[in-house]
Amino acid sequence: MTAYLIRGASILGEGVADVLVQDGRVAAIGATASDDTSAVVVPGEGLVLLPGLVDLHTHLREPGREDAETIWSGTRAAALGGFTCVHAMANTNPVQDTAGVVEQVWRLGRDAGWADVRPVGAVTVGLAGTQLAELGTMAASAAAVRVFSDDGRCVHDPVVMRRALEYAKAFDGVIAQHAQEPALTATAQMHEGLVSAELGLAGWPAVAEEAIIARDVLLAEHVGSRLHVLHLSTAGSVEIVRWAKGRGIDVTAEATPHHLYLTDELVRGYDPVFKVNPPLRTAADVEAVRAGLADGTIDVVGTDHAPHPREDKDCEWAAAAFGMTGLETALSVVQAAMVETGRMTWADVARVMSFTPAVIGRVADQGRPVQVGEPANLTLVDPAVRRVVRPQDQATASLNTPFAGMELPGRVVATFLHGRPTVLDGALVERAGASS
């Protein structure tokens, strides 16, 4: 296996040192790294070296919606975004609610070879919210599922949610909740507030998210289980999670890049590229989510990468699908929202986009420190570059990025997956014999 010498990068934005990648591991750091003169040099001067990013929230759409994304195209997008591990959400068709389907997704990910794919198992059969899926069998399968979610739908029945939280303890699983009270959001199109009142779009009130989070943290406390809150989007949700953590409840929370950066004001043009669930909220909510991420109330950034075919966005607002892509912009958005605002360091970015997601997902060989002997899952970032997002230039098979035309900071220069570069010089490293 070719060795690589990453020369002169700043590790986690702190000390500058050479890093030798060999046989899938970090073989040496510092002066001894350049002893291997056969290594391919990757210039890292002025760049930041991070652990490979880990996404707990990716929709790869395969099986079922290969017109939107495949595991191959989605993991190529992941690699370009600096990710070495993605958790593939369960709302595929067929749903990832059996060992057979999660193993299929896991194998397709392994065969594609662009990032480690960890399938998320459905909490309930068919995401229907009534009968527990075979969580234990999925956990014991080759896919070794540890994260379970009906994402896209809320496990709204409190008894089903309680049972799932309890049951997952047997195999150290976590229930990742899409917090959305369904009756309060039956016809919802966007955040309920000043803008929805004017636009005449049915509102998605903040309370519909907050009420479920409040219930779930209390359930988690009652049964002593761990709970993960997906795509937290409101100021009230931040407060509830902060309160729950203060009580010692085992809850973790996620924010998406778009909820850190975009507001409901963007809906005014009725362009469905801004239609997402939970919806874009107010500037005050964005500020609260940023503060929550900075102070540790929110543990991770998850992309909620949700590709959709063109026809599902090239239409009137009410007819459009919810969701936006995010793998190839996530790190840039976090840099813009958190690093350039002085609220987080690159070490903090490593924490919320790599270390902690891997811990929550129980991924042993991802999200590891950049140290000798650790798996060489690494991302090299140039924070000085500014780029305009062009949907057509992305590797994802879909065009629905809300950041199209916006200038964002930072670019992933290289990504290493278990010692092998998936991205070099900002471009995918194609492999002989690999196919889509």
Binding site: A197, A202, Y270, E316, A319
Partner: protein, 330 residues
């Protein structure tokens, strides 16, 4: 004016121009031969994704009185359920050479998409979209208000005037009403004061940024002596499922306009309704048929206002030389 999508897009001068043009159009409609050659050779498509015979006929009449070719395209159902998408429909109409598309759609923002997504080059006139806007309704309401309550009053057109100083109460299902949204914006632009009256469940969250007062008590507002009371249609379905109010009876008791409430209005005040009316629910027969009710006149004014809008979006800045004769200030 390239499109008419929202009453909020109009400034005072534009709104007054439309009302003045409507007055000129209305004057021609008193002649024996009502048809004007103004838009001869132009094609207007009425693209209706929602049933609305009244509004469609009004636009159709307006376009035909201006000698435009009119195509009625009834596309009930939508891309949500099945069939052709809005984009394909728009591109089809574009290929057929539509100069203006009058669109009624159940989805809020559909006219905005039609105008700005690059699907069609024609002018877009919003004939009602979801719970968002119905700008020609607001314009015809403003036109009716001006005729009755400004200047000499009693059916003459005070050309050049706005609605400064008037107080209009809009009563009913504000939450789901595109008529209310358009009127709040336009009447404010024209200088009137608006009070919205509804049970709290039928007022949208976020209403605080609107240029209107909100009251939950119709009788209190009537005691303020409004110059006009505009009753909104309340759909009986709203009490099922959504449970916005407990019963039709309780709604009528709190918010219905009946003979008793009619008697509390100032002598000059008028009663309006965009139609179709639910007699016995939001308005009693006494109120609907009262002398001060201008509901039927609103319908007639709708044709003149829509003639004005079609004329202004299609003929642009040209002076009206209709019939060789009608000037803008006729």
């Amino acid at each position: 004016m390239k499109h008419l999508l929202s009453a909020g897009d109009l400034d005072r001068a534009q709104a007054v121009t439309i009302l003045d043009t409507a007055a000129a159009m209305a004057a021609t409609q008193e002649r024996q031969i009502k048809k004007l050659p103004t838009l001869r050779g132009r094609t207007v498509v009425n693209l209706f994704f929602e049933d609305s015979t009244r509004t469609r006929i009004s636009f159709e009449t307006a376009a035909k009185r201006l000698s435009a070719d009119v195509i009625n395209f009834s596309a009930k159902g939508s891309s949500v359920s099945k069939g052709e998408s809005l984009k394909d429909t728009a591109q089809t109409l574009q290929a057929m050479g539509a100069d203006a598309v009058v669109i009624r759609h159940h989805a809020s923002g559909a006219p905005h998409r039609l105008a700005h997504a690059g699907w069609t080059a024609g002018a877009v006139v919003n004939a009602g979209d979801g719970t968002h806007q119905h700008p020609t309704q607001a314009l015809l309401d403003a036109y009716t208000l001006r005729r009755h309550l400004v200047g000499l009053r009693g059916g003459t057109d005070p050309v050049g005037h706005d609605l400064a100083g008037l107080h209009v109460a809009i009563v009913g299902d504000v939450l789901h009403s595109r008529v209310a949204r358009s009127n709040v914006q336009l009447l404010h632009t024209l200088g009137a004061r608006v009070t919205l009256v509804a049970p709290p469940t039928l007022v949208p969250v976020g209403v605080e940024s609107w240029t209107a007062d909100v009251s939950y008590h119709l009788d209190d507002v009537l005691d303020q002596g409004p110059d006009a009371v505009m009753m909104l249609r309340v759909q009986r379905e709203r009490m099922g499922g959504g449970g916005f109010f407990p019963s039709p009876w309780e709604y009528t008791r709190g918010y219905g306009l009946d003979a008793r409430r009619l008697a509390r209005l100032p002598e000059h005040a008028i009663v309006m309704h965009p139609g179709p009316m639910n007699r016995g629910l939001e308005i009693s027969a006494d109120a609907a048929d009262a002398d001060r009710s201008v509901v039927v006149e609103q319908v007639a004014n709708g044709v003149a206002v829509r003639m004005a809008v079609l004329y202004l979006v299609l003929a642009g800045q040209e002076q009206p030389t209709v019939d060789g004769q009608i000037g803008a200030s006729a």
